[in-house]
């Protein structure tokens, strides 16, 4: 396939589309790693859970409540799913992760790995592994827009726009506001921040909740594009880890920019040598870590 302007631009758009998913998921991981020093392996499973909240809210919630005509619509799911998953995250942090804080962060990784297996296993038991369609895509987002070089589905444009908005809003809050400065200070010197009268444990809990809510949000965004399946997260998580590591663990802007960039790199690989498209990110990761040990945007310690 020759690389015409049209091809390049189309692939840039598709790459961006994949990239925003990486960005929003790796952003959540970066926030959690930055504050809790935990490699949150369960992130992929919570992304899947977000998609399922949307799906089940649409298909099963009504009958469950005795009102068969009730469907949780897409817009409501965008709010409800992150809330549900965020609350679950709060529970996990309160009951389990908190108890591991004084141990090697290896244990946090292993615990969340176990949680991921549990969630994925439960859903595999009750739902179709080959995936179910989420039919609640809003009318307004149906159809495609002519971008000049390609017809691009409206829904994907919306995904790109809202994801970028959420990513940069998160970045702004953490890097540019007082709340964010407490968060950052809380990671480096919890005692000092406590002295300012800030409830540090609560702050940590809420941060974890927010991080996983981001994953659920991405899950809802993904539901109308991909099949909603119990394994959708486990396929994603390893790649997203690589994104976080390349960006520099804990770096907010790093994870956003790297997510977008790698989405595009992957997109181009699909054109040049498609079989390597799921491996190319790991190759980049090895190279980056050898040249820049702390990742592209990480600080050397």
């Amino acid at each position: 396939m020759e690389l015409s302007f049209q091809t390049v631009m189309s692939q840039v758009m598709l790459g961006l589309n994949n990239g925003v998913f990486y960005a929003i998921l790796s952003l959540g991981l970066a926030v959690i790693f930055g504050l809790l020093n935990i490699v949150n392996f369960v992130h992929g499973a919570l992304y899947m859970l977000g998609a399922y909240v949307a799906l089940l809210g649409y298909t099963m919630l009504g009958p469950l409540l005795g009102k068969p005509d009730f469907h949780l619509n897409y817009w409501a799911a965008l709010i409800v799913a992150p809330l549900v998953v965020g609350l679950l995250g709060v529970g996990v942090e309160r009951t389990m992760l908190r108890r591991l804080r004084k141990f090697d962060h290896l244990y946090g990784l292993l615990l969340t790995f176990g949680l991921a297996l549990i969630i994925q296993g439960v859903f595999t038991n009750y739902f179709n592994v080959s995936g179910d369609a989420y039919e609640a895509k809003p009318e307004a987002l149906n159809g495609a827009v002519n971008l000049g070089f390609m017809m691009f589905p409206k829904y994907r444009l919306w995904v790109i726009a809202i994801s970028l908005l959420v990513c940069f809003a998160t970045w702004f809050v953490i890097e540019r506001t007082k709340l964010g400065s407490y968060l950052r200070a809380g990671t480096e010197n919890p005692e000092l921040v406590k002295a300012f009268g800030v409830n540090v444990p609560l702050m940590i809990t809420l941060t974890y909740g927010y991080g996983v809510a981001l994953a659920a949000f991405a899950g809802v965004l993904a539901a109308p594009i991909y099949s909603v399946s119990p394994v959708m997260g486990s396929e994603m998580i390893i790649t997203v880890f690589a994104v976080v590591v390349i960006g520099g663990m804990g770096s907010i802007m790093g994870s956003i920019v790297t997510g977008l960039l790698l989405g595009m790199v992957e997109g181009f690989t699909k054109v040049v040598y498609a079989p390597a498209s799921s491996t190319v990110i790991f190759l980049i990761m090895v190279i980056v870590l050898l040249v820049k040990p702390a990742g592209l945007f990480g600080r050397e310690s």
Partner: protein
Amino acid sequence: MNRYVWILLFVLGLVAPFVVYPVFMMKLLCFALFALAFNLLLGYTGLLSFGHAAFFGGASYITGHLIRNSGLTPELGILGGTLFAALLGYLVGSLAIRRQGIYFAMVTLALAQIVYFIALKAPFTGGEDGLQGIPRGFLFGLIDLNRVHVVGGKPLALNLYYFVFAVFCLGFWIIYRTIHSPFGQVLKGLRENEPRAVSLGYKVDRFKLMAFVISSAIAGLAGATKALVFQLASLTDVSWHTSGEVVLMTLLGGVGTVLGPLAGAFTVVTLQSELTSVGAWITVIIGGIFVICVLLFRRGFVGELGRLLKRSL
């Protein structure tokens, strides 16, 4: 540790095929050896490799290829696979030891993913069907590893079993010796306090790399033997799930104990084999074990037992 415990374990190993299904027992020995090799790094050097499947599975492919397509005898095939794993370990190790902690784990994971990709694409690996139908052949050209003895009406592959048991004992002995050697003492030191080990004049990178190579070679030995037992090498063996499984085995049994990986491998392999009728619940059960283990007994079975008995096992 008590000599009688060793003798008991050895005798158990000898009579096992008459009690337990031999193929199951051989799988167990292979995974136990794999976990032992992994534990040399995690437990005795303090390095978490998240890509050890690359050595296990890589050796398994090379051994399969050598025996099936180059007509080598089984012991030479296994030797070839082990050497390959050692070489691969040297390459991966030299890159990974330049980083620490979670980055170390991530570099090993990334390199293992690349090995996975090669295993998928290389012409001799059979893609996702795997390298099938590896002949077991004649050990040293003399002993037929396919020979089946019928005992009490049951066909038992005893030649193969005792060969695998011997390989296991050899691997176990190498690991045990390494842990309890002057070299092992330095490894423990750098696990405990790396800067201090440096300030005492130890070139820690060399020690780490050597430990990495020994660990990957023994992981390779385990994978190579497994290829002979199952007569196949498959993508599962090089996938990151297998890397995760060996972490689970080690953690469950007890990181940094000699017998822990054995106990952990025993538990996980038994669960996998006994729970084949519960469908996806197996994932839930294994996940649950992870969680309980991390929350309640981080030292693992053997580690907790050792604490109760106040001795290192």
